[in-house]
Symmetry: C2
Subunit: 70 residues, 2 copies
């Protein structure tokens, strides 16, 4: 899943202190971010089910974050 | 940093199996994703500097991922 356009990722890396950014760095970053987002989404959806709810709430996302410790 | 619009996050959560998604869940998810993206960007930029390079490359992003083990 392409979470962010490559130009936005390049901007983010520059804002973080990068002087230059290779195309491959942005592509790999997008892949990493997309996979991360997919994992968090799956875990939050599973937590809601686990709790007998049909609605994913803020607390599910916070609990995923807590369990992952970051 | 708002990495993704809330509507896109809601779609992602639904695709991951959520029946319903609260507004707060999408807001918290966006925050989490934005902070994660910022951390990865900083670490990749630091790794490039650490390696005496001006350009952040694909290898920097892959190394961040490897060190984080996910």
């Amino acid at each position: 899943m392409a979470v962010l356009p490559l130009k936005a990722i390049e901007r983010l890396l520059r804002k973080a202190g990068a002087k230059r950014v290779s195309k491959g760095a942005s592509v790999e970053f997008a892949k990493y971010l997309g996979e991360f987002a997919g994992e968090i989404a799956s875990e939050a959806a599973e937590l809601a089910k686990h709790s007998g709810r049909q609605t994913v709430t803020e607390q599910d996302v916070l609990m995923v974050r807590k369990i992952r410790r970051r």
